[in-house]
């Protein structure tokens, strides 16, 4: 059992990171699920992380309360910017949310209270594996329920054809806003959790590259269901660890894997229908065809 | 006369739907042929496959004896098989002059191009007046003239037209059809896809009726015009 203890001592942070980035991937997946390509989620994570860290450091709030605030603050911001922004579509929405993310990063960089580029350090280590597991479980459960309800069907309908969806009596703008805000809540929670096990946060962790990293997780894993984004998060988080022996060339392998997946697995790694076909469980299509 | 174009057992899929289900026909050089049928019968699909924009699921297309089934669209155009696509497909942000110039994209004979341009101006004097305007600002009729004129700039041997009458006033439709007849008289072979069945069959020497991806009737234009089934289905009998 010493081996296990050692293993956990060494890799617990890595496991935490997998959990937190699974949350981030789910938050982007949620917006993608209703056809929105939003790159604002890294900024929402940033807001959540800073709000909760500041409340822990300066206001002495209990951890649970700071986490609640980590979810609420970005939700509020998402509500305000979502109303005008979500009218944009496709790459324009991506770019507007990207610009928003940059503004958030620069503002955090220049505020006194956030510690500017030096960030915040000495954040109490309150996050445990159970916190991450519990929140991930709640989020996954909630999203599963959502997916199997009229809201989930509405998201999917909007993603496929916005006009047709609106003519099914679906309030498209409201559903999009809901997905955007809920995504912000999840991202904010992930930020709060992350801040409380890494002792330290700084604005450089929430830039464009990070937004793209998270998006990559989802595309890599596949957007067909909840398993895909989580699998993608695990792979992208673990890959650098697994490729550690490649030293400076691991970036090349990392990039190559991304390109190859995009080229050869169009629906991501987790594609239930392809997997079923692969393992000989039926023709890869639904029965009755 | 020999067949300029012959189509053998052509089938084309659109996603999971078999839009054209194995059709065959031949076009005689110098004739106008009409391909008629209702919306969704597979007419446009057939034309797109002939131009290489859709890859047939099976079958062959021979143009002047050469198998062009697997050629790229631009290679097919360079062989003289030119299409005026549905909805006129003019390049709205380019000027009329630029649209016409692009029609001659594949040609390397400046003198011939200049001559073709004169011909087009002769056919459609309006285009000469509007030469520097953005094509998007032309009226519907003028856009159709431009689309046909642009195709003429490629010096085609076979002209495919997809619904040239769509959205045009009757007077303009008359104009367009008269022009087609005039063009045909210069020896150019024309394949016309139309919903305006009566007009199309009137100028066509031969016609094919397409229904849900199959040719269900064929004959001379006059024969088809008089066929009770055509009258009932398309002319409101």
């Amino acid at each position: 059992m010493e081996w296990l203890a050692n293993f956990w001592a060494t890799y617990s942070t890595l496991v935490y990171s997998v959990g937190v980035f699974a949350l981030m991937a789910l938050s982007i997946w949620l917006t993608l699920a209703c056809g929105l390509l939003s790159l604002a989620n890294a900024a929402f994570m940033c807001i959540g992380a800073y709000v909760s860290a500041l409340l822990s450091l300066h206001a002495g709030w209990p951890f649970g309360a700071t986490l609640a605030a980590a979810g609420a603050a970005p939700a509020l911001v998402a509500l305000v910017i979502g109303m005008p922004t979500l009218r944009l579509s496709g790459v324009y929405l991506a770019m507007a949310t990207l610009a928003f993310g940059e503004v958030v990063r620069i503002v955090v960089l220049n505020l006194e209270v956030t510690g500017g580029p030096e960030g915040l350090n000495g954040i109490p280590q309150s996050t445990t594996g159970w916190h991450i597991l519990a929140i991930l479980a709640v989020v996954v459960y909630g999203l599963l329920r959502l997916q199997r309800s009229r809201v989930g069907r509405a998201f999917e309908a909007i993603r496929e054809d916005e006009v047709a969806a609106s003519l099914m009596g679906i309030n498209v703008a409201r559903h999009k806003l809901f997905a955007f805000v809920l995504g912000a809540v999840i991202a904010g929670l992930a930020g709060g959790l992350n801040a409380h096990y890494t002792f330290f946060i700084s604005p450089r962790e929430y830039g464009f590259e990070n937004a793209v990293d998270i998006l990559t997780m989802v595309v890599l894993g596949g957007i067909g269901g909840l398993a895909g984004p989580m699998l993608g998060a695990a792979i992208i988080t673990l890959l650098p660890e697994l490729l550690r022996s490649l030293h400076e060339f691991r970036g090349i392998v990392n990039g190559l894997i991304l390109v190859l997946v995009v080229l050869f697995l169009p629906k991501g790694i987790w594609d239930p229908r392809r997997l079923r076909a692969l393992f000989g469980l039926g023709p890869g299509r639904d029965p009755g065809c | 006369m020999s067949a300029l174009l012959s189509v053998e057992d052509l089938a084309v899929n659109y996603g999971h739907i078999e839009a054209v289900k194995g059709i065959g026909f031949e076009l005689e050089a110098g004739e106008i042929t009409a391909l008629v049928g209702a919306n969704g019968a597979g007419k446009s699909t057939t034309l797109l496959a002939l131009s290489g924009l859709l890859r047939p699921a099976r079958g062959r297309v021979l143009f002047d004896g050469e198998d062009v089934t697997r050629l790229k669209p631009h290679q097919i155009v360079r062989r003289g098989l030119v299409q005026v696509a549905e909805g006129r497909a003019i390049l709205a942000t380019l000027s009329v002059r630029e649209n016409l110039a692009l029609g001659a994209y594949a040609r390397r004979d400046p003198a011939g191009v200049a001559a073709s341009l004169e011909e087009v101006f002769h056919l459609f004097p309006r285009l000469e007046e509007r030469l520097e305007q953005k094509a998007g600002n032309l009226s519907g009729g003028e856009q159709q003239m431009l689309a046909i004129g642009r195709a003429m700039m490629a010096k085609p041997r076979l002209l495919l037209l997809d619904e040239p009458s769509m959205g045009l006033a009757p007077l303009l439709v008359q104009d367009i059809f008269r022009t087609l007849v005039a063009i045909n008289r210069t020896g150019l072979t024309v394949l016309l896809v139309e919903q305006n069945v009566r007009q199309a069959l009137r100028i066509a020497r031969r016609g094919f009726v397409l229904e849900t991806g199959r040719i269900v009737l064929e004959g001379s234009g006059d024969q088809l015009l008089g066929d009770p089934r055509v009258v009932e289905a398309y002319l409101g009998g």
């Binding site: 496709g90 770019m95 390109v259 | 942000t93």
Partner: protein, 293 residues
């Protein structure tokens, strides 16, 4: 001071515009947001550096050679990665992510080969002259950057406006399907466009490498962000828009640093971008190139 700032803005703006030119060209013609453009820019810089330091070529030869090399790289990316994705009709997010992968590969490769340290052109590579006009100081290098940028942009602009090839590109931008029905070899021009765009990116990399005198594997990142802002402001795919927006962003940045606060230079740029998108979803100067197909 204002005249000097105006000149500063011009230099900065023309660099932005030059970078954004290739970026916007690829979007206009291929409808792809090519996020490897920053990495290609970096490769151009390293290519010129290697030619100058290893083969001892003069800059006059190294610059066009680096341009050609980065062009080939761009074309390779198109043929190997973007073409299969086009054939599959992949949604626009997909090629964008593929190009992120390419960017990661290229910058890692550059680091593996050249190391992470900042490299620079050896002394004497760079024209050293500088002169003063009243209050305004100018370096010959800056003048040549503005000159080369504007020269290349003018050539490209005229080529797009006046030549048959340029018309063909605009036709593809409007509708690849219509273009192919006119006998235009669309795939071939996709490759050619990728070549030209990457070559322009490579030149921008060399020029900035010379000016800032610091070549690093990650030098493409910051300018990529500015490039994104520029092509959106300019209207995506719009060449003239990219030129105007590049200059505009240069001015906005320099003037906000000069008369507001240098801390908020970037915040102003991106905040502006955000607001402009809300008010004018198709950019400040441009129109959207709507595809019919």
């Amino acid at each position: 001071m204002f005249t000097q700032q105006l000149l500063n803005a011009l230099t900065l703006g023309s660099v932005y515009a030059l970078f954004a030119l290739g970026f916007t060209l690829v979007f206009g013609v291929l409808a792809v947001i090519n996020l490897s453009h920053g990495a290609v820019f970096m490769v151009g810089s390293y290519a010129a550096l290697t030619l100058v330091t290893r083969l001892h070529l003069p800059l006059g030869i190294a610059l066009p050679a680096a341009m050609a090399l980065s062009g080939c790289l761009g074309m390779a990316i198109d043929v190997l990665i973007l073409k299969p994705l086009r054939a599959r009709n992949a949604p626009h997010l997909i090629p964008m992510i593929a190009t992120i992968g390419v960017a990661i590969m290229l910058s890692s490769a550059a680091q593996g080969i050249f190391g992470a340290e900042i490299l620079r052109f050896p002394e004497g590579t760079i024209p050293a002259g500088e002169f003063t006009l009243g209050e305004v100081h100018v370096r010959a290098l800056e003048l040549s950057i503005v000159g080369i940028s504007f020269g290349l942009m003018a050539v490209l602009f005229l080529a797009i406006r006046r030549t048959q090839l340029g018309r063909a590109l605009r036709a593809i931008a409007e509708s690849p399907r219509s273009a192919s029905l006119l006998g235009i070899n669309v795939e071939g021009l996709f490759h050619a466009t990728s070549f030209v765009a990457a070559a322009l990116g490579g030149v921008a990399g060399v020029l900035i490498g010379l000016n800032f005198n610091a070549i690093t594997p990650l030098m493409g990142q910051p300018i990529l962000h500015k490039g994104i802002a520029v092509i959106i402001l300019g209207g995506m795919g719009d060449i003239r828009g990219a030129l105007l927006a590049g200059l505009f962003l240069g001015f906005a940045e320099v003037m906000s640093k000069a008369y507001l606060s240098s801390q908020m230079g970037d915040a102003v740029a991106f905040g502006l971008l955000f607001l402009i998108l809300l008010v004018r979803p198709s950019g400040l100067f441009g129109r959207v190139l709507e595809r019919k197909a």
